[in-house]
């Protein structure tokens, strides 16, 4: 079983994507050996009030419920976002994505803390992409900078009951997420989409690896499989999965067990 915790449907405004419809994404998942994938509509990150995109998502993937796992998108600046959260639960959405850099609120402020706390109280995991696209190529209309991992670390510490998945981050082993000892037992996760394992570009011998350090130092329980399909290739995450220096039980946690638990998935 392989669950992709970092996939998308819909339109990226600044570049044409392929495999961004439910049927096409499932075909791509088949080619990649991926059984299930969490998805939300990319464009919800650009909507001031994303609830209609959440409703459309629930409708569109209803026939594909055995393969695609829907995530809602919340904007805590939208009036009555708490009702949107309740509606997401009623729609059967399994988690929430937040986009501070697109909905324009600080990563360590009161708005995001309130939203994350509300999700935690509903037992919904929160997905916060470190970035959607490489900021070095961003379109002039795209505010999409990468988030500050130190701020995300503060958020994790501020809402310790929450499950927070920070996707698309790199490098990780020497980032505040792992270096802050007070976070090590909390429920934060990162994925395999961008971070390397055994080799990283380095100018000193203490930084020759990335995820391999995290694993050696006991952090494998913070890892999830995620690709960033169809914005990124799936191949990099699949190659890293093949090279992970972990035992079989840990590998199964990374491929699907941890994700299934976070998403409250039943068998099948």
């Amino acid at each position: 079983m392989l669950i992709d915790t970092n996939a998308w449907l819909g339109t990226w405004p600044f570049r044409s994507l392929r495999d961004n419809t439910p049927d096409a994404l499932i075909a791509r998942m088949d080619r990649s050996g991926i059984d299930k994938a969490v998805v939300s509509y990319i464009e919800a990150a650009f909507h001031r009030h994303p609830q209609s995109a959440n409703e459309r998502l629930a409708r569109d993937i209803e026939p594909h419920g055995h393969r695609l796992i829907p995530l809602g998108t919340l904007n805590p600046l939208s009036p009555h976002w708490e009702r949107d959260l309740t509606s997401c639960i009623d729609l059967g959405l399994k988690g929430i994505r937040l986009f501070p850099q697109y909905h324009n609120y600080p990563t360590h402020g009161s708005e995001i803390r309130s939203a994350v706390q509300a999700c935690a109280e509903c037992d919904l995991p929160v997905f916060i992409p470190h970035r959607l696209e490489d900021a070095r190529q961003h379109h002039w209309m795209d505010p999409g900078h990468s988030l500050d991992l130190a701020h995300l670390a503060d958020l994790i510490a501020a809402v310790p009951d929450a499950a927070i998945i920070v996707s698309n981050a790199r490098p990780l082993a020497r980032s505040p997420l792992w270096m802050r000892g007070d976070l090590r037992d909390l429920n934060w996760y990162v994925d395999l989409s961008l971070a390397e394992i055994h080799y990283g570009l380095h100018r000193n011998t203490s930084a020759m690896k990335d995820l391999a350090y995290l694993i050696e130092e006991g952090g494998a329980n913070h890892l999830l499989f995620g690709t960033h399909l169809p914005i990124s290739y799936a191949g990099p995450a699949l190659v890293k999965l093949a090279l992970l220096p972990v035992d079989n039980q840990t590998r199964e946690n990374i491929t699907h067990r941890t994700a299934a638990k976070l998403l409250n998935l039943t068998q099948g």
């Binding site: 495999d19 080619r31 990649s32 900021a135 190529q137 961008l194 080799y199 000193n204 990124s232 190659v239």
Partner: protein, 273 residues
């Protein structure tokens, strides 16, 4: 058809864009490069040590970088090959340094962002590379303005096209399509470049469709496999690209083999080894 990642990992690859840095512990770093790449089927590594941030360092500071690479080549003679880093503005000293390194066994010249590839100051280097039939690997990309501020003289596609108009026989390699920046822009700019202009797939940007875009725009013979620190990512993007097995072989191996053949060299480990 499902991707066969395991078989793809095992197939031989020439990594034509990587580094061993002038630093304390370079030996450990070189060993780590070779050991890490072995897990991914990489059979040889074309390495450089460079001066970054556009710094116009004196030639006396350049030579130790290349000496580190020569030492790495001696440490791993069956795995590591060298790019000779020069700063073209050193003129005769740069030519002499390139000649020294090529005579010592390096297989090409590495340029960073001190000068654009089409700058007249680079012409003598282009002439030398043409004469010796060695490639030039040029740091390149089309980052947005705020990311270009730290490297105002970074080259992008149009500069390669212009350089290749004057030196059509020079083998020019645009570094890292995934190195950060608008990769569609820089590739499109090279549509009309000489057939001797290449691009490598390295870099941390793993945008879907990137490799196929380069193949479509430039042709399969002009796309090279490199990693520049993104080892698994670079392997993964080529394995996942919508290409035939034969096309993947071109990228992973035979295009680099073709470049080596121009100077009478061959891969350290042939494909059928």
């Amino acid at each position: 058809m499902t991707l066969d990642i395991q078989s793809g990992i095992l197939r031989p690859k020439i990594d034509m864009h990587c580094h061993v840095w002038l630093m304390e512990g370079w030996e450990q770093s070189a060993d780590h490069l070779v050991n890490s790449g072995a897990m991914l089927g990489i059979t040889e590594y074309w390495c450089s040590s460079i001066i970054q941030q556009g710094i116009l360092a004196p030639i006396e500071e350049v030579r130790p970088h290349n000496n580190t690479i020569l030492s790495a080549m001696a440490r791993h003679p069956q795995r590591i090959r060298g790019w000779c880093f020069v700063i073209p503005g050193h003129f005769q000293d740069a030519i002499d340094e390139a000649e020294r390194c090529l005579d010592a066994g390096m297989i090409g010249i590495k340029l960073y962002n001190q000068y654009r590839i089409n700058d007249p100051a680079v012409h003598p280097i282009l002439e030398l590379a043409t004469e010796r039939r060695v490639p030039i690997l040029q740091h390149a990309g089309y980052p947005v303005a705020e990311h270009r501020a730290s490297q105002p003289l970074i080259s992008h596609g149009i500069h390669f096209t212009e350089a290749s108009e004057k030196y059509p026989d020079a083998m020019l390699i645009h570094a890292h399509i995934g190195g950060g920046g608008d990769w569609e822009h820089t590739v499109r700019e090279m549509r009309d470049a000489s057939p001797n202009v290449y691009i490598d797939v390295s870099g941390s940007n793993l945008d879907d469709g990137q490799v196929e875009y380069a193949v479509t725009e430039l042709g399969i013979g002009r796309v090279l496999f490199g990693t520049d620190g993104t080892m698994a990512g670079s392997v993964g993007k080529v394995l996942d690209a919508d290409l035939t097995d034969d096309q993947r072989e071109h990228i992973f191996f035979t295009n680099a083999e073709h470049i080596l053949a121009q100077q009478g060299a061959a891969p350290l480990h042939p494909l059928d080894e």
